[in-house]
Amino acid sequence: MPTVTSVAASVAASSAVSNEVPASLELAPYVILLPLVGAAVLLLAGRRSDRWGHWLGLATAIGSFVVGLVLLVGLLGLDAGERVYDMALYDWLPGGTLDVGVGLRIDPLSVTFVLLVTFVGSLIHLYSVAYMEHDDDRRRFFAYLNLFVAAMLVLVLANSYLLLFVGWEGVGLASYLLIGFWYRERKNAVAAKKAFVMNRVGDIGLIVAMMLMLATFGSLDFAVVHEQAPAASLGIVTAIGLMLLLAACGKSAQFPLQAWLGDAMAGPTPVSALIHAATMVTAGVYLVVRSAPIFDVSPDARLVVAIIGAVTLVFGAIIGCAKDDIKKALAASTMSQIGYMILAAGLGPIGYAFAIFHLVTHGFFKAGLFLGAGSVMHGMGDQVDMRRFGGLSRYMKVTFVTFGLGWLAILGIPPFSGFWSKDKIIEAAFVPVEGSEWQAWVFGFTALIGAGITAFYMSRLFFMTFGGKRRWNDGSGDVDGTGPQQGPVQHPHESPLLMTLPMVVLAFGSVFLGGLLAWGDSFVTWLEPVTGHAEHAEPVLPVWSLITLTLLLVVGGVILAWRQYAVADVPVTAPPASALTRAARVDLYQDAVNETVFMRPGQYLTRTLVYSDKEVVDGTWMGGAALLGTVGRVWRKAQNGFVRSYAATILGGLIVIVAVVLALAS
């Protein structure tokens, strides 16, 4: 491993960041290397590795997790003040004043992500072994999964924005490849393309932010940028912050770049669980929290972040209420939950730690929910329409229980994981930021109402799938008074052990992880070297009343959903509904808006451009070309084909240039 410590980072690290990496952390590069090698082997070995490829993929993911554990133990063995390290690996672009190195940032934040990515990643690898068993391309699937894990680890371990960008693009690529994994169906290929293009819009933000940083600070290293951010002009820092937010919006499917996430569900379900629920889409939150020193300087940028988060959390929740596709409903829920995290991150120092906390718990219960959805689909012959489910709790006991635990966790029922993290965010939202109380009220109530809607749509999803009456064809032929005997015959069955095992593990996480990490504020304290210590301001309403209010709303949402979807009959085709519901069914017209505001004018613009290009530009250049052609015919005489003549011309040109330079210089 290229631990070339002699090539020291060119920049002086800030006082908090140490360049001397202790021996206990020197394994860090292997975290990335293992899955990367796995991906390379699987992609290069071709069909030869079809038989053992998935086990290799699983092994590298687990190996990576083990190294991550070693890092965790290493960090825990150090004093809290000494847990931030920059590990220089390689001098990447030594170019005069721009000197970019490849280096890893090892601190509580990145190690948290490493553990989340590799642990959930390993479980989903394991799940996929069974889930993709009958797919001819299982090896390719595992290669892409490994590639994704490697890229995600690069993203979270990078110590400069440029290397982060490498990982950022890497996960984008992996996401594209995996959404379009069944690329032979046009729908999937289009969904992959959509995700890719919308992600690029966000990437422009990151690129512009990097350019601004380079122009302002002369460096892209976290250490330098974060140290100098307070000294730069407020306007520039705000611009950088907003550009970073744009990047975060693209990757994390935040308003207004959220439209791709629903379509991204075209990929295999383990992909949706790993990439589009637990890890990649949370990269935007990571970016904002990682750039905390920038956002700390600019309250305006922070406010925009919080607004975007609040808008998205409501947006996603409303969409979630109307979707009948189980995966798309979960995707809307992901969008909404990430809205919570972005909102928390936008609240500033008091919210960073809670954003990451919710991210971790969400990673567990949402991955669990997705795996449950995958298990249901597995048992129901790839049916995704919830109106065709119903009463499945009898047939899939394990899925039912694990899914139910995840459901309770996302609702925020104490003492499940979601309660500890989401409630903290709601509490933090009610804290006035720099004395402005209206913000506290607006954000606080948005978060509160969001929790209520979340309870409704997640319960709707849960009851429509597992509760109520059977709405699928069991092939028995009798009408049974309830279920319509149409559609393909289904034989719902529990999934194999390889699939239920990860679900059980994640369900345990959904139950205990939140309480465990909230115990004595241990997680917040653990993140303090990165997020800084936040003084505890009091919310505008007392904490006990907030918790009560939240729980009341949640219970209200559950009861509403229970009456409507468990007690009452659910029609197998979507009934006509109010304007809001219809809007929500089509993602609140986001695609239409995109199409009208960006695509159509874009098309007109291109058409105009094509026309003017043909007439004006081409006309000019065709005329010019004709002229050049005539000249060329004359000059052709000089082309005698003798290499030596050409060499003489080159030499003559060289002499002339040198002479001219000399003449100008003297």
Partner: protein, 99 residues
């Protein structure tokens, strides 16, 4: 400054190499002219490296040597291929560029 002499020598040898490329028709000899030019630049690199007390000059010269070795291999292979096809190593016989 005495080290300048080396650079002047390198300039002269470079010019001789260039003249060889321009004047000789045997592709192999032309090739040797190119080698002479490469070596002349190497001499300049090494001299400048010594002037500045920096080993980078020698490193670059080393890379030039390695790349030149690769270039010779490919170049001579091309010459042999042409010789097989045309029974000639004259660069003037290979004038297909003109049409």
């Amino acid at each position: 400054m005495e080290l300048t002499h080396y650079v002047v020598l390198s300039c002269i040898l470079f010019s001789v190499g260039a003249a060889t490329v321009l004047l000789r028709r045997n592709a192999i000899i032309v090739f040797m002219g190119v080698e002479l030019m490469l070596n002349a630049t190497n001499l300049a690199f090494v001299t400048f490296g010594r002037m500045h007390g920096d080993l980078s000059g020698q490193v670059i010269a080393f890379f030039v040597m390695v790349v030149a070795a690769a270039e010779v291999v490919v170049g001579l292979a091309i010459i042999i291929a042409i010789f097989r096809a045309r029974r000639s190593v004259s660069v003037d016989d290979v004038d297909l560029l003109k049409s």
